[in-house]
Symmetry: C2
Subunit: 332 residues, 2 copies
């Protein structure tokens, strides 16, 4: 039986989306239990139609909620009765093995670091963002923002943790691991990237060497490792240009009656593309390297998106990701 603690109060559409997504996950996986953490009087009424899974679902009352506007570290330290902090406590106490939250990214990161702590041997935990690729797959980009000033050895560890996730959760047999760089030649890169490259050549990973950021959406590697500053820049640049292109499309396609007719005909195709290239459709962002399977769902997660994030956490437990990261990083 896998047990997941769900921060039922975090996210733009909480608690409806978190409760509904959790109930759907329970229906999908018979060996799953969920501890729904939040204000009991708000959560209980949402479970009226969940009688079929009610025996595997427990409400854990927590009175406070962490907002996006407060200091994540302070909130995690001081708001001991916040739904997110209680959820972390459940994992720490061993009552759950995984945590899913659509709340503040900073608070989830701080909670992972200070409430759970690092897996032995892990220098720095990392956020691993799945990026949709043109071919319909995904590339795992990490670190995508947790660690800004990185040593090369940390980046090499991100690569190793990413490879474990790709293998155990995404089912990629021998994941191709790339190092984000500004050119493919070995002598390229900043200090930390060159250090990481030298270390990665010595591992047993399927290391494909340096990759440029354009390789990420083209799917030229299954895992792309980098420091959290570069990773976040890549992520936000892709988000920005995608938004810009779709904004322009909307403008151009409503420009005259000819394009409006054309737009009506191609609309389903455009919707498919938008859906395929939308990172949020793939699921949440796992935090790798902490003592528990932690998944940060997108802040604006619908019930369906939250279900995907719970599924990711479930698969991390199925794939034994935490233990395998521990044993692989100890081998070095």
């Amino acid at each position: 039986m896998h047990i997941i603690a769900v921060d039922a109060m975090g996210g733009d559409h909480a608690p409806q989306s978190t409760v509904q997504g959790s109930v759907e996950a329970l229906r999908a996986y018979g060996d799953l239990r969920i501890l729904l953490v939040g204000q009991e009087e708000k959560l209980a009424p949402l479970l009226q139609d969940a009688g079929d899974v009610r025996d595997r679902l427990e409400i854990v009352d927590a009175r406070e909620v962490i907002s996006n506007n407060e200091s994540p570290v302070m909130a995690i330290r001081q708001k001991t009765d916040a739904s997110l902090v209680r959820a972390f406590a459940l994992v720490r106490e061993g009552r759950a093995q995984a945590l899913v939250s659509a709340g503040s990214t900073g608070a989830v990161m701080a909670g992972g670091m200070f409430r759970l702590g690092r897996i032995e041997g892990v220098e720095r935990p990392a956020l691993a963002t799945p990026i949709p690729t043109a071919g319909g797959g995904q590339t795992l980009l990490l670190d995508s923002g947790a660690n800004v000033d990185c040593q090369g050895a940390w980046i090499a560890q991100f690569a190793r943790m990413g490879a474990v996730y790709a293998r155990q959760v995404l089912g990629v047999t021998n994941p191709r691991v790339g190092l984000l760089n500004i050119g493919e030649e070995e002598e390229k890169g900043n200090r930390q990237t060159k250090e990481a490259g030298a270390l990665l050549k010595e591992t047993g990973l399927n290391f494909v060497g340096n990759v440029e950021a354009r390789a990420i959406p083209m799917g030229e590697a299954d895992v792309v490792a980098c420091d959290g500053f570069a990773g976040n820049v890549a992520l936000k640049a892709m988000e920005g240009i995608t938004k810009a292109l779709f904004d322009l499309l909307r403008q151009e396609l409503t420009a005259n009656s000819r394009t409006k007719l054309g737009a009506a005909l191609v609309k389903p195709a455009l919707r498919r593309i938008k859906k395929r290239m939308n990172a949020e459709e793939i699921g949440g962002v796992p935090m790798l390297g902490v003592l528990g399977a932690v998944v940060k769902a997108h802040g604006n997660s619908s019930a369906k998106a939250f279900f995907s994030a719970v599924r990711q956490a479930y698969r991390m437990l199925e794939g034994n990701v935490t233990d395998i990261i521990r044993s692989e990083l100890q081998d070095v």
Copy 2:
């Protein structure tokens, strides 16, 4: 009279595109002279229809050509009879004030550094890439790849040089200068970014603070400064996702007869978007901070694109960019 040295042999479509682009620039600007540097026997026949501007165009013979496959620094040092090296020599000797090349980026950078040298007071020259924005404008991103390990003070200088270019060449009266970061809050960022932020607050620039990479294509700043690693990652990430989206569009729009009909109707609109968001349509990449106006045109420049790059160099001379950078950086 402005004099520009053109590396006539660099680029995928040289020398046809470089010669044709140069001739068009001469027709556009009556006070422009061009020194066309390259193999005379290849260049002369291309000037048959250029009688109207022939008196402002001189061929400077150079026998060698630098390819993309050789070490840029070695090539610049050793191939003294290469068209690019001769062109740099013309600027250094004062026979020209600007240089335009569609050849190897590395060689143009090495030439700028070693053949021209830095403007007094400039710590590191930078590549400034104009990025098209959704609104039809452009954001100048620098450094976009020349300097990977940066001190904060260098990044602050990039911002200052970029602001001079935006004002003098792009005609932006009081350019909004942003600092590329992974969040807008002041405490965010890696070491060099925080250092740069502290310095930029003390300048007379119209400093809008930290901006995320998504602000670049959205046009939320006229100039975005960063280290060359982050800048290159942003650039390549945007290129990659744009290519991925257009590849998907092509697939989806030829999927069935309905979408094919729609595609025929929206094709001109899509072409306009592609054109607008194509960095190459805007022109080349100026190298700021060296003793001369240097513009790196795209390797696959057509005659029209090469003309744009020559026009940029001309505007840099008109706007007195080199002198203004010298005087502004000395004020600090």
